[in-house]
C-alpha cells in the first residue's frame, strides 16, 4: 500500500518534467506578449524576461522549478498577478463538483443500460439500450449542452442554464457530461456481464433459487467491478481536463477553462500549477480505484 503511494512520486516527477518541457516547447513567449500589449519596447521585453527568469539556461530554470514545487510554491500568474494556488483553489471546487456528479450520473445510466442490454441480449431491448449508449457518445457536448439549455432552461424554465452556486446549477452540465461518458460504461458493463453470465458459478446461484436480479447484483456485478472501476478512474481523468467545453457552454468556473485559457495566453505558471493539481487529483482517484480493485479481486494485488 505504501509502496503504491510511493510509486506515484516518480510519476509526479515525470509529469512535472513533461509539463515544464511542454510549456517551453509550445512556441510562445509570455514576455513578448506582455511586452507587445504594453508598448513593445525591447527594453521592456528584456526586463520582463529577467523578471520571470526566462533568460536563464533551461537547466537552471528546471531546478528552480523543481525546488518551487517541492516547497509547494506554484508561483503567480503572469497575466493576472494572482497566486496560482489561490486561483486553483477558487476554480477547482466547481470542476470537482461537476466531474463527481457527472461520473455518478454516467455510472448510474451506464449500469442501467448495460444490465438491461446484457439480460435481454439479442432482443430489441438490447438494441435500444446500445442505441442510446451510442447516441450519448456521438453527440458533442457543445451540442447536447445547448439542446439541454434550450429545452430545460428556456422552454420549460425548470433549471438555470449557466453559472454555479446551487446544486440546481449542476444538473444540466452534469447531465451533458454524464450522457457522453455513459456510453462506454454501458458497453463495457454489457460485455463483461455477457462473458460472466454463463459461467458455472452463476448457474449455481440460479440453481440455488436466487432471482435473476439477485444473481446479477451479488455475483455477476462483482466480477465486472474491477474493469468498471478502472474505466471510471479513466473517465474521471478525462473529465477533469476535458470539462472545458462544458464549462464554456454553461458559463461555469473550472480548471478546464483555466488550463485552456492559460495555454492560449502562454501563462506558464498557471499551466504548470493546473496540470500538477489535476494530476494529483487524478492519481488520488486512481489510488482509490486500485485499492477498491484489490478489495474485490485480491489476486491482482499480489503481482
Amino acid at each position: 500500500m505504501t509502496q503504491r503511494v510511493l510509486g506515484t512520486l516518480p510519476t509526479f516527477l515525470g509529469i512535472a518534467t513533461l509539463v515544464f518541457l511542454a510549456v517551453r516547447v509550445l512556441s510562445g513567449d509570455p514576455a513578448s506578449v506582455l511586452a507587445a500589449q504594453a508598448g513593445g519596447s525591447s527594453a521592456l521585453l528584456n526586463q520582463l524576461r529577467t523578471q520571470y527568469g526566462l533568460d536563464k539556461p533551461l537547466s537552471t530554470q528546471y531546478l528552480a522549478y523543481l525546488s518551487d514545487i517541492a516547497r509547494l510554491d506554484l508561483g503567480r500568474s503572469i497575466f493576472t498577478g494572482q497566486s496560482v494556488a489561490a486561483m486553483i483553489a477558487q476554480q477547482a471546487p466547481a470542476t470537482l463538483a461537476l466531474a463527481t456528479t457527472a461520473i455518478v450520473l454516467a455510472v448510474a445510466l451506464g449500469l442501467v443500460l448495460g444490465i438491461l442490454a446484457a439480460m435481454h441480449q439479442g432482443t430489441w431491448i438490447d438494441r435500444v439500450c446500445m442505441g442510446i449508449a451510442v447516441l450519448g457518445v456521438s453527440v458533442p457536448i457543445a451540442l447536447s449542452g445547448l439542446l439541454l439549455i434550450l429545452a430545460f432552461s428556456l422552454a420549460l424554465r425548470w433549471l438555470p442554464a449557466t453559472g454555479q452556486g446551487t446544486p440546481l446549477h449542476l444538473v444540466l452540465p452534469a447531465t451533458a457530461m454524464g450522457l457522453a461518458s455513459s456510453g462506454s460504461i454501458a458497453r463495457v458493463v454489457r460485455t463483461q456481464l455477457l462473458e460472466v453470465l454463463d459461467k458455472d458459478y452463476i448457474r449455481v446461484a440460479r440453481a440455488k433459487g436466487l432471482s435473476e436480479i439477485q444473481v446479477l447484483i451479488r455475483h455477476a456485478l462483482r466480477t465486472t467491478l474491477p474493469t468498471l472501476l478502472n474505466l471510471v478512474g479513466l473517465q474521471f481523468g478525462f473529465m477533469l481536463g476535458g470539462a472545458v467545453i462544458t464549462e464554456s457552454v454553461f458559463a461555469r468556473q473550472g480548471l478546464g477553462r483555466t488550463l485552456v485559457e492559460a495555454i492560449l495566453y502562454y501563462d506558464y505558471p498557471v499551466i504548470q500549477g493546473t496540470v500538477l493539481v489535476s494530476a494529483a487529483i487524478y492519481t488520488g482517484i486512481n489510488l482509490i480505484v486500485d485499492l477498491a480493485h484489490c478489495y474485490f479481486d485480491p489476486t491482482v494485488c499480489e503481482r
Binding site: 512556441s27 513593445g40 494572482q82 453559472g163 464554456s248 457552454v249 458559463a251
Partner: protein
Amino acid sequence: MRHTLRIMAVGICLLLVAGACRAATGQGRLVYGLTLSPSSIDPHVGASSELGIPLTSVYDPLVWLTLEGEFVPGLAERWQISQDGTSYTFYLRQDVTFHDGTPFNADAVCVNLDRIANPETRSAKARSLLGPYDACEVADEYTARVTFTSPYAPFLSAASQVYLAMASPTALAKWGDEYQFHQVGTGPFTFKEYTPNDQITLERNPDYQWAPSFFARQGPPSLNEIEFRFFVDAATRSPALESGQVQVMGEIPPADAARLDADPDFQLITVPVPGLSLQMYLNTERAPTDDIRVRQALLYAADRQEIVDVVFMGYSPPAYGPLTRVTWGYTDSVESMYPFDPDRARALLDEAGWVDSNGDGIRERDGQRLALQTILSSWGFVPEVGQVLKQQYEQVGIELDMQVIAAYPALVQTAAEGNYHLIPFTLSSSDPSILDSTFYSSNVEGGFNWSKVRDPELDHLLDLGIQAQDAVERARIYAQIQERIMEEALILPIRDYVNLNGASSSVEGLRFDAQGWFPWLYGVEVK
C-alpha cells in the same frame, strides 16, 4: 423504499424552491451578461473593453464625453488648456469622496496618472491614452496640472475614458498588485466582489451626489445591485437572456438579433462603436502584397455589401476606410475610392503580371501561384468573413490560404513574425488619434502597425493630428490621413463595428456612452 422516495421528493422540491428564490431578481437588481473573461480588470493595466463595462459605473472620469461630442464637467469642474497644448489644468470638485472615505483631490489625480505612466504597472491601453505624458503637478489641493512633452489634443477624450480612472490612492497603496480585486472609485456603484470566470458584483453607492449634468437623475442610482456574469459561448447568450437569467446581454450574435428585435418582451439596442473599422492589414513588406496594384486589386474585388449581408445580417454597415462612420473626424470621401469592381481588379492583376496560365482559376507569375496567407482571428466573426472573401477573390483569380488563430497572444505573435499577407485587427476609440497605433512607423516593431508601413508623410500628418488644437484643422488633417491610407491601399476595411445588445423590456433608461461599449448603468431602472 417508499420512505426514501418520499424524502427524495421533498428534497427535490426544496432544491427547486431554493433555486427559484436565488434566481429571482427583484426590483433594483440587474444581471448583466458579459462575454469574455479578461485577464486583468484593473483599468490602468488591462486592455480589454470587457472590463470597462462594469467599471464605468465604479469610477467617474475627470470629464464626460456626451453622445453629442461635447466635453462636460465630471470630477473636474472646469479646465484650461494652455496655448501650446502641452499643459492641461483641471479645477476639481471639492465635495467628492472615494467609496472608502478618502477625499478626492489633486493628489489623487496625480497618484493615478503617475501609476499609469509607471512602466512597472505594465499598463496596456491606459498608457497609450496618456500619449506624450510628462508629469502631473499638484498646483493646490484641488487643482491638478498635467503636462506633456509635446502638444496632445486627444487628452480630454482620453480623460473621459474608464482606463484613466480615478482610483483611491489609499486602496492603491494598500492592495498593490491585488488592486483589481478590491477596486475603489468615486462612481455611483461600489465594487463589491470579483471572482474570475464567475462574476463581478457592484452595489449602490448611497453617497453619490456628483452626477454629470446630462443625466436627468441626480443623487444615488436607482439600482441596488448589479451582477455581471461571463458568457463565453455565443450560442448561449440569447437563451440566457430569453430565459430571464440575465436582463441585459452584450454581443448578441446577428443570428439571434432579429428575433429579439421582433419580440415585445425584449429590446435590441444597437450601438455603433467609434474607432477603427474591422480591417485586414495588407503586409506591404512581403510579396506579392508589397505591390500596390495587388493591394488595390484586393480592395476592388471585395464585395463588402455581400459580406455584411451574409455574415452580419445587415446589422453592420460596410466599411470603406480605416475609421468607422461614427468616429469623430471620419471623412466620407473614402467611400467612393474603391467601389466593388471585379473587372478593375482583374485589369490591375493583369498589369502586375499575374495571369492564369494553366487554367485552374488561380493566377500565377514566374511559376508562383497568387496564394495569399490569410490569418483569421477566431473571434469577431472573422472566419465567416474570410470564407466569403475567399470565394470573392477566387472570382478574380486570387487564392486565400486561411489559418484561424485561437487567441489574442498568438495573433500578436504571428503579426510579429510577419508570415502573413492579410491579418485582421480592430481597436475602438472615440478619438481618431487611434490611427497612430496602427499606422505610425515606430509601431512596426512591437506595435500594431501590421501593414508594416513606414511612410514619413503619413507620420508627419499623424503628428500634426495630435498636436493641432483647432477642431476644424484636426478634422482636415485626419481626412487627409484617411485618404492617404486608402490611396496606398494599406488595409482592406470590412465593416463598422456595431455592438448588438439585448435587454429585457423591463430595463429602462439603458444608454451606452460615446465609446460605444460601455453602458451608463447609473440611469437604469428595472420595472
